[in-house]
């Protein structure tokens, strides 16, 4: 017998089929749910075909900010799961959308980017000006203890009104120091004022994952990149990605989904399931990734899902 908490373990064909009937909109985490490393998980391709046949709305919700929606979509399609660009909701996309829709970032101000192409592409797509990022000079260190390149009157662009940070494999001390100076300069804590100098500076991070699961193993993630900016400046960032509120707020701001008919599907209690709960929607945990039933039963569980299945293959075989 499967031990149970407050969640419902869907162990019959009927309960699984009923789950699909209950919801119109399905938000999916990708890694550990759709695929594991380079391999698509069993039943996934067939399950997505059946979801589409039933007219369900699908969103792919990823914390990976290194890639633009287009690049993530290429990966999804390469796995044989058909998708559209407007179905992909990455933390990079959500961050740009958050700046635009929620913070109403002035068009004449710039973001200082600590991050990669994917983040830059999404800022471009939302009409947000930026510097830093893949700029070759910013990817270089300083010459010993010569801080003069960062301390002169012209070293910082006065129109910068946000530091935006995601995973960055060209992270450098120079980027750390520039982000620190933008966030700590006089007036940086204040309101962002369009068209004026030195009027406030947002600090927005795509996600807080401290590790990044690459096909070649774990490496430091976005949370390891921006932590140094946080501790030196003494300023806590707004974190957009799962499990935080801004990304799910942005999803419901962009789509007129009925919350009672929307389900978040993921493999991690601390990110995916907590994320769905904060957004006020039902959640489904699959056991093909990080979290196990033991984690769900633990007294300090990060969150308890509404439902659990072994994997998407369970749902696939429940649908004719």
């Amino acid at each position: 017998m499967v031990p149970r908490g407050a969640y419902e373990f869907l162990d019959t064909k009927e309960t699984r089929a009923h789950l699909i009937e209950q919801y119109d909109n399905f938000l999916f985490d990708c890694d550990g749910v759709l695929w594991s490393g380079p391999t698509v998980l069993p039943g996934v391709v067939s399950f997505f075909r059946k979801l589409r046949e039933r007219g369900k709305r699908i969103l792919f919700v990823s914390n990976n900010a290194s890639k633009s929606r287009r690049t993530l979509l290429e990966r999804i399609n390469a796995m044989g799961i058909d998708g559209r660009e407007d179905e992909v909701f990455s933390s990079a996309y959500a961050t740009a959308a958050y700046l635009k829709d929620v913070l109403r970032f002035p068009t004449d101000r710039k973001a200082y980017v600590v991050g990669m192409n994917g983040l830059e592409d999404e800022l471009d797509a939302n009409g947000i000006q930026y510097i830093g990022g893949t700029d070759e000079q910013d990817c270089q260190g300083l010459d010993g203890l010569d801080f003069s390149p960062l301390a002169s009157k012209d070293a910082l662009d006065p129109s910068v009104a946000a530091v935006v940070c995601g995973i960055d494999t060209k992270f450098s001390y120079r980027k750390l120091a520039k982000a620190f100076r933008y966030i700590t300069r006089p007036g940086a804590e204040g309101e962002v004022r369009a068209g004026e100098q030195n009027g406030g500076c947002h600090f927005v991070c795509t996600n807080e994952d401290v590790t990044f699961p690459s096909s070649e193993g774990l490496f430091p993630g976005a949370g390891a990149v921006w932590k140094g900016i946080q501790v030196s400046s003494g300023r806590d960032p707004i974190v957009v990605g799962k499990p935080h509120q801004p990304m799910i707020d942005t999803i419901f701001a962009r789509f007129a989904f009925d919350k009672s008919r929307t389900l978040m599907v993921g493999d991690r209690l601390d990110t995916d399931i907590a994320f769905g709960q904060r957004g006020g929607i039902d959640t489904l945990l699959v056991l093909t990734g990080i979290s196990t039933l033991e984690h769900v039963h633990a007294s300090d569980a990060a969150a308890v899902p509404t439902y659990v299945v072994n994997g998407l293959c369970d749902l696939d075989t429940a649908l004719s």
Copy 2:
């Protein structure tokens, strides 16, 4: 009237002169005590001459790990305060000494350095092999999400048995990722075994200051550099420098000072004064730097000194 806590404010010539009589060994923080930015503080040069005339032992105790003892000594001497190399106790020197004397780091193992010349020089002086640091390749970022240069069988040196981190103005994602991999590889948590592969990995940081006071203003410090290694690896470092125990343990291991005749002099409650207290010695706060009497009187004061004077000029004028 000066408000008082548990400390004694030395406001007469007699109490000040008596202080000097009471102690044989004086440990001095530098920044905010001896100098402020490029300027030597009033009375300091004369005070040091008088201390030497009375045969007092002097140590300069600095958290600055970017410089070797020799470089710090040059700064001390340029200010007109005469000193000797064996009187300089920087966190870089203390870190190398800690590896050698306390951890008994095997001579056939290497340290992976996230840090600058000063740290490398002190490791050299203590006969500790190292890689990383100022190596040009390690100062470069990765090519996009291509982690293969760090994931191949030969990417990590199996003889590395410590990650040693200080301030590093050429800090890069590659260094962050290498440090992460050394600290998280199989067996890294275990004992360091000389002559064997994969036997344990120390994680030692020079100091935890999150900012670095340069002559051109504040920039991110050592604590901002190693924070990302800590959060991604989930491993807390041993921090050597003030206010932590290892540096003061190393001082008393190297010098046969009588603790009851030793005084720590500094301008910061949270580093210098807490440091002296942890070492079980008396402390003197000078008000020429960061901490003020208000900080001392605060209910959440990081530490309360044994004595307070306005500055070293007070002690200078008290000595004939």
